[in-house]
């Protein structure tokens, strides 16, 4: 009985080893799992439990990735190597959801976004992904800090460890990156 997480993890390992084609097989597997995680999260959130994000992310990793298969030194290392995968997976899932919502049309701007410019994109994983890619062109490290924290679920200490920079640098990068991303998402400079 091949468990999903075992299969996901094998694909993840293959993908990391440079087999780009595995990502295509990986994404659909992860989507179903992701929906379940999201539902579980929302059930708890609606029931008034303020669920710790770290617990949610832990659970996601636990379900999505069979940690036993991955040679990892610690949680930070493991999350760091998985952050970019998490990003791909989530962004892809969000794209699929948006496409479904619009009955498969390739229209990029959601109605919400038109009605309340800025506020919608703040909550849009796909838009954030694009902004992050643009930021990487300007300043790769800042983009990485956001990826590790927002998609990877690493805390400050873990990012310090993963990137081998000082905590002060991480804090400064995070703050400037957020402002930069918000400006980009609001269609400000660079983001038009």
């Amino acid at each position: 009985m091949a468990s999903d997480s075992a299969e996901v993890t094998q694909l993840l390992l293959a993908w990391r080893a440079g087999d780009a084609a595995t990502l295509e097989r990986l994404i659909p597997l992860v989507h179903a799992e992701l929906r379940r995680i999201a539902r579980g999260f929302m059930q708890k959130e609606r029931a008034g439990h303020s669920l710790q994000t770290s617990a949610l992310v832990n659970e996601a990793y636990l379900r999505l990735i069979d940690a036993r298969q991955v040679a990892w030194q610690n949680r930070a290392h493991f999350f760091a190597i998985s952050a970019s995968l998490m990003r791909r997976v989530l962004v892809d899932a969000a794209r699929e959801r948006q496409a479904r919502k619009r009955g498969g049309s390739a229209e990029r701007v959601a109605l919400d976004d038109v009605l309340a410019p800025g506020s919608g994109k703040r909550e849009d994983v796909v838009a954030l992904d694009e902004a992050l890619t643009a930021l990487a062109e300007e300043d790769e490290r800042k983009s990485k800090v956001v990826e590790l924290r927002f998609f990877g679920g690493l805390n400050e200490t873990e990012i310090v460890e993963a990137l081998q920079v000082s905590p002060e640098t991480v804090r400064r990068d995070w703050r400037l990156a957020k402002a930069w991303l918000l400006r980009f998402l609001s269609g400000g400079r660079d983001g038009a």
Binding site: M42, L56, Q69, A71, V125, F151, R175
Partner: protein, 897 residues
């Protein structure tokens, strides 16, 4: 934007943030000094900083979840996985008389479990509910490797459920069907059937002892994992389906029970005992009968009692004698027939009185079959050993005192021939089916990682690695990299595939050991080096006191994964541990860990641990064998004797003898004996015989090859020694010990350039190898490269006293006073603690003081300093060789000069 520009923006941005909001504009205006673009840029970003509250503070997953959720509220889709209590149902696994079984996930632990949903009626009966809980609690308390673990019980929507360990494998029913289909035979091959039966019997014996009767033993309730481990399910559950008071129609466990759930498939009464069939009260002996039915069916491939309808079957159980097993399987040993007969007695008083008696008979039968199997097919020990083995087995089988001599193969020559043909057919079919998957024939066990890096737990991870290497090395068809080959990957977690490629193996095993208090978590992973595919992975959660069981299980699992076919003897050796006492084993591992170091103080600690292990289990042979090396090292680690050398050597001798006495099949014990004969006794014949014995017992024991090669060179048998080294190196080219040995070999056979290259290669594998530095220094000295020689000898001579050689180089280089200084130092030390006399002899010989040199060599021989074994070839005493006293020394050491 240029990098410098961006840096500027960044600096100003953070500098501005340090100021109060109302001061920022002024600050920027001043700092940007006319560069209005720069000012605008920074100001703009600062503006967004104010809006950034809450932005991407959560996780992307939470953000996406809210989006998904808001859509789901509109679309009202059915929930994805049904939730039962805390568990999420994934897929149905099957249904049976006792309810539906599902594969489920326990999200709290991220663990897959088997969830059994019992028929609805259970919940309405409070008494039954209470009993269910009681039984589940009792069953989960059994904690036996052959009994499935119950994690949880609960109730949902009026239905009871039981959550248990998920066993990945097949039911015994499926296993029997496989045997018929794949192996073209009726029933399971006897040795496997007996192996399975033993495990089932062990589970039943443990349960009975705890007062739990199974009541529903049948092939559907026995799971067989891929590695052959059996798990018996549903202990005590059957009781719940029985009516409170027996009635005329006798509601037996597998009889249809009143149920509101119409889809449930009911079992057959085939495995019921006569007393169950009659609806009488049952005791543990009902399980003995059902077990008898099961064993019968496994061998015969057909149940003993049959009928077209359940009532016909019941009638047969009450009335008929089953046909003898020989009717189906002509080669059935009479002992097996006897066991089955006794279990299937209609009167329970005529059956085995209890499970342990049956278990004992089965074990005896298993041993007997193994002996038979081994005798005609010796694996490949040297000829003399084969002859001995044959003689021994002949003596055993012809012994008139044995009432049931083992040879049913002999007495049924024809049926044996038929069986052989069948077996060959089965093998051919098995080969046909597995043609796609070539078995892994070589493996490297990388050093297990000590998670948490607690140095006190290091012996556990190291010990586990060692034991696994030793266990797996028992399989002759599997090449297992030696400990010293894989040691350089210690502390370097990373690319297992790359390591595997470097080591030239097909598969790599990596592992992690986590110790938390008394809990021991072992993660193991097997990777195919060709494509980096994950072959297998498993997590073992046990108590530390179960260390032995974990290791045995791990070795078995790996062998199963690698599809290595093992002989019965190999199978036994694979999981052999020599003690049942976990504390003794743990102490032994600690001892091994310390004896593996070069530090003399730690060697003394190793002795202490081995002693403690022996105190816990005086029949445990390995710690005795382990004692030999640290005791003997007390003469090599010259500067730090812990005990007088004579006493140490005596203790080494005793330990080696004891190890062999306790376990004559232990390669380590014979190696220890060889070392004692070589270093202490100078009994060259015994040494040679014992080296060969150790190698025959465990061909992968590299230390045995290493010291045997060393011994051969010492004897002046350079060609033999070289051949032995080459053999070991061909098997394991990166073995550090063997590479060093080859360098040493070249040095002593005066091939200095080769020696230098080889020793440098060794140091490439292990830059801290003190022996390699030492011999390289000596080789440089022979080449007249004195400064380099001195430098090498001063490098990393931890635990070694290289002062003798160092002084010699000074003498050769004309720095006699420095040589004299070292000599004085050693002699001063010798006054209050033992110092290697051989070392002092070296210095005198180098200074040309022959009388003193001989005097100290005499002393070295008298004290059994370990170095004189090299006397015959040591280049250091070149100038003494022509002296008759030298010839006399050699003669006294058992050599012809």
């Amino acid at each position: 934007m240029g990098r410098d520009r961006w840096r500027q923006i960044e600096e100003l941005y953070h500098a501005a943030l340090e100021r109060a909001p109302d001061e920022r504009a002024a600050f920027l205006a001043e700092a940007c000094a006319g560069d209005s673009d720069l000012r605008r840029e920074v100001a703009e970003l600062l503006g967004y900083d104010g809006e950034a509250e809450g932005f991407i503070e959560g996780h992307a997953l939470a953000m996406e979840a809210r989006q998904l959720d808001s859509e789901d509220l509109k679309t009202t889709q059915a929930p994805a996985g049904r939730e039962i209590g805390a568990y999420r149902i994934l897929t149905p696994l099957g249904r049976g008389g006792m309810g539906e079984v599902h594969l489920a996930l326990d999200p709290r632990l991220g663990r897959k479990v088997a969830l059994k949903l019992l028929p609805a009626e259970f919940a309405h009966d409070r008494e039954r509910a209470r009993r269910l809980e009681q039984e589940a609690r009792a069953a989960s308390a059994l904690n036996h490797p052959n009994i499935i673990t119950v994690y949880d019980i609960g109730e949902i929507d009026g239905r009871r459920y039981i959550v248990g360990e998920l066993v990945e494998g097949e039911t015994l029913r499926q296993r029997m069907a496989d045997a018929t289909r794949r192996e073209m035979r009726q029933g399971i091959e006897p040795s496997e059937a007996i192996d399975l039966a033993l495990q089932i019997a062990a589970a039943l014996a443990a349960a009975h002892e705890a007062g739990i009767i199974h009541r529903d033993i049948k092939p559907e309730n026995v799971m067989v994992r891929k590695d052959g481990l059996v798990k018996v399910l549903d202990f005590g559950l059957a009781k719940l389906t029985e009516r409170q008071t027996p009635t005329a129609d006798a509601a037996a466990p597998t009889q249809p029970v009143p149920s509101t759930d119409a889809g449930i498939v009911m079992g057959t009464p085939r495995y019921m005992s006569p007393e169950q069939a009659r609806g009488e009260k049952v005791d543990a002996r009902t399980d003995i009968f059902s077990f008898g039915v099961l064993l019968y069916e496994m061998i015969a491939g057909a149940p003993p009692f049959t009928g077209a309808t359940p009532s016909e079957v019941i009638a047969a159980i009450l009335r008929d004698e089953p046909p003898p097993l020989a009717h189906y399987a002509s080669a059935t040993p009479p002992e097996l027939e006897h066991i089955v007969n006794r279990a299937l007695q209609k009167e329970r008083t005529a059956r085995y009185p209890a499970m342990p008696e049956l278990l004992a008979d089965l074990k005896r039968l298993q041993r007997q079959l193994e002996r038979e199997e081994e005798a005609p097919h010796p694996v490949s020990p040297p000829l003399s050993d084969v002859a001995t083995a044959r003689l021994n087995s002949a003596a055993e089988t012809d012994e008139p005192a044995a009432p049931q001599p083992a040879g049913f193969l002999k007495r049924h020559k024809l049926s044996a021939a038929i069986a052989l043909v069948m077996l060959l057919a089965a093998v051919a079919i098995a080969v046909y089916f597995s043609v796609q998957e070539t078995a892994v024939d070589s493996l490297a066990v990388l050093p297990f990682v000590n998670v948490g890096a607690n140095p006190d737990a290091e012996y556990l991870s190291d010990g586990m690695t060692d034991s696994l290497i030793n266990s797996l090395a028992q399989a002759r068809r599997l090449k297992v990299m030696s400990r010293s080959s894989v040691l350089r990957y210690k502390g370097k977690e990373g690319d297992a595939q790359a390591a595997g490629k470097a080591l030239g193996v097909r598969a790599v095993l990596t592992g992690k050991v986590t110790q938390r208090g008394d809990d021991l978590i072992v993660n193991a992973e097997l990777v195919d080096v060709r494509d980096n595919s994950h072959l297998w992975g498993e997590q073992y959660n046990h108590k530390k006191s179960d260390l032995l069981a974990v290791q045995a299980q791990l070795a078995r699992d790996i062998a199963a994964q690698l599809r290595i076919r093992l002989s019965g003897e190999e199978q036994q050796r694979l999981t052999k541990r020599g003690t049942e006492n976990p504390e003794a084993y743990e102490l032994y591992l600690k001892g091994r860990y310390y004896s593996g170091t070069v530090d003399a103080k730690k060697k003394a600690q190793a002795i202490e641990y081995f002693r403690q292990a022996i105190a816990k289990d005086p029949r445990f042979a390995l710690p005795y064998a382990g004692l030999v090396e640290p005791y003997m090292s007390m003469t090599r680690v010259n500067a730090t004797y812990a005990i007088p050398p004579k006493e140490a050597l005596q203790k080494a001798k005793e330990a080696a003898a004891k190890a062999v006495e306790l376990d004559d099949t232990l390669a380590e014990a014979h190696l220890a004996l060889a070392m004692v004969a070589r270093v202490i006794e100078w009994d060259w014949n015994t040494a040679e015989r014992e080296f060969q014995r150790a190698i025959a017992l465990s061909p992968n024991l590299t230390e045995a090859h290493h010291f045997y090669a060393h011994y051969l060179v010492e004897q002046g048998r350079f060609e033999d020694g070289l051949a032995e080294s080459r053999r070991a190196l061909a098997f394991d080219p990166l073995d550090v010990g063997m590479n060093f040995h080859l360098g040493w070999h070249y040095h002593h056979t005066r091939q200095d350039e080769r020696a230098v290259a080889q020793l440098q290669k060794t140091l490439g594998l292990d830059p801290n190898h003190s022996g390699a530095h030492g011999v390289l220094g000596q080789t440089y000295a022979e080449q007249g490269r004195y400064p380099e020689a001195v430098a090498e000898l001063q490098k990393n001579q931890r635990g070694r006293d290289s002062r003798g050689h160092l002084a010699r180089i000074y003498a050769l280089a004309g720095r006699r006073d420095e040589a004299q200084k070292l000599l004085a130092e050693l002699q001063e030390e010798a006054k209050h603690k033992p110092v290697s006399p051989y070392n002092i002899a070296i210095i005198y010989a180098s200074l040309g003081e022959r009388e003193q040199a001989f005097a100290w060599l005499e002393k070295a021989i008298a004290e059994r300093d370990s170095n004189p074994t090299e006397l015959k070839l040591d280049r250091i005493f070149e100038n003494l060789r022509s002296d008759p006293r030298f010839a006399d020394l050699l003669r006294r050491m058992g050599w012809q000069p």
